[in-house]
Amino acid sequence: MTDQPVRIAQLSCGPEHSGVQKEIYDAAAAVNAEMFFPDVTLTDIRRSYDAFGLEARSGDLKLAIGRAMALVEGKVEADAVFIATCFRCAEAAIVRNELRHYIHEHSDLPVVSYSFTERTTSGTLLTRMEALTTIARRRALLAREEQKGTTMGVDSGSATTKAVIMRDNEIIGTGWLPTTEVLNSANGAIEAALKEAGLEMADIEAFGTTGYGRYLVGEKLGADLIQEELTVNSKGAVYLADRQHGEATVIDIGGMDNKAISVQDGIPGTFTMGGICAGASGRFLEMTAKRIGVDITELGPIAMKGISKTVPMNSYCIVFGTQSLVNALAEGSSREDVAAAACRSVAEQVFEQQLQEVDIKEPVIMVGGTSLIEGLVHEMGDLLQTEILVPHHSQYIGAVGSALLASGFIEEK
């Protein structure tokens, strides 16, 4: 990469004393970004602290407030902002959220906030840093609204691998396989998509990869674009939902982690990505389907027939969630109600754990495989008090986003 490093301003309390700062540095370096600490004076800190009005007691949080105001006021230049504080610190959580909101409202800077523990590794931070740098560095690429030529997108996800072939703004082939061995699954999905499109690999003019296996698949198969799923999915979502202009919120409940992205004109502004607890993931719905003896594709319609509130189930942990599920069935609850409750539980976890970290702006677009579970979409809409959009091909969102963005590389060839 010959680009200038993207300069990410760090607003934080605690990483240096938790052994996490090096992980932040490493994650940034891996995507050609550099962390820096906005330079302010003691006078700036006192003034900003008073002006901001949030009476934090911790010195480092006062400093973070001062630095945030310097960024918003343009006294210090940055390409993106990373806010990090200790997990389980209430004072820091309040400051972190208010600063995230403040920067998002008053500047164009992409922001991600994160609460770390001493176990946080650079690997965990990598996707977030990559998304931050992409938004900062590749605004032109992300501005693409139309797919051109013949391109392919591959989404090598934690649970499933998807491939999509597009030609002149149309999806002409799709492929889908559970992810087992990453490369084999990718090859299988690509083969299926090519077959449906009636094309061969040589016909593909450009292609992109995303998802957990993006580097492995992208490097082995020579992808033009290897891109994390935060920017790709939000791009794919607004493209398929035809909401490329103005505000939108994209929710993707994945097999292993969830993403909530606040989008402005197709470009992510703030986003969160979580995946500590499986009770808030697609995995839990898979387990529910298995336990009540239906295919995952049937879970949604069954859930729509049930009443979620009749079964108590609200657990961030997949083990506790399964216990509630087993208990409810043992007590004679109908499988419809149990299915609905499971959808409600996942929706509530995502709402409580992640949607608090972004500003929900309508329309809310749900994508990813779980968006096909209509019971889940219904419960999420109920929680957010809004009609949720689920675009066509929403389960192929990463692959579509990749194929769309990859068409930017055709002209370069």
Binding site: C13, S18, K22, L42, R46, S58, G59, K62, T85
Partner: protein
């Protein structure tokens, strides 16, 4: 010569006062120097690693944020080692190693829990008279700890 824990542990004035009158100040620099001068995994900037929050479990439970436990791993041993302590009670503008209010509450509590540890409570001077009160109280306190003095 007595070992005097200073609070804020990053205080330049307390570090000066304690050493000016012949004693050893135990503060953030003491703990950081130890880490900077010890071979270990590379963990810039402070050479504090994920092991520090684990060591901090001696002073705070696992549900206490890692930043508090990490900082406690820095200060806990120093407080245990101290012969006396000086606390500035209105240190609101302390950052970095003293940048976490929760840690600072726990540090002060730990100092007060050490039975028989001489503690001087003081505040930052805001006038010339208070400046005199500040230095004379510290000098008197330190003289009471024994050891050499410039008198």
């Amino acid at each position: 010569m007595a070992k005097v824990f200073i609070f804020p542990a990053t205080s330049l004035i307390l570090s000066d006062m304690v050493e000016r009158w012949g004693h050893e100040a135990l503060g953030a620099a003491t703990g950081i120097r130890e880490r900077i001068q010890t071979a270990s995994l590379d963990s810039p900037p402070l050479q504090m690693t994920p092991e520090d929050p684990k060591k901090g479990l001696k002073y705070a439970a696992v549900e206490v944020p890692c930043g508090v436990r990490g900082r406690m791993a820095l200060y806990g041993p120093l407080i245990e080692e101290a012969d006396a302590a000086i606390i500035i009670n209105d240190a609101d503008l302390s950052f970095g190693c003293m940048g976490c209010a929760r840690t600072n509450e726990l540090v002060m509590f730990m100092i007060r829990q050490r039975k028989g540890l001489p503690v001087l409570d003081i505040k930052y001077p805001e006038t010339d008279d208070e400046g005199f009160a500040f230095v004379s109280q510290i000098k008197e306190f330190l003289a009471g700890l024994g050891g050499e003095s410039d008198d």
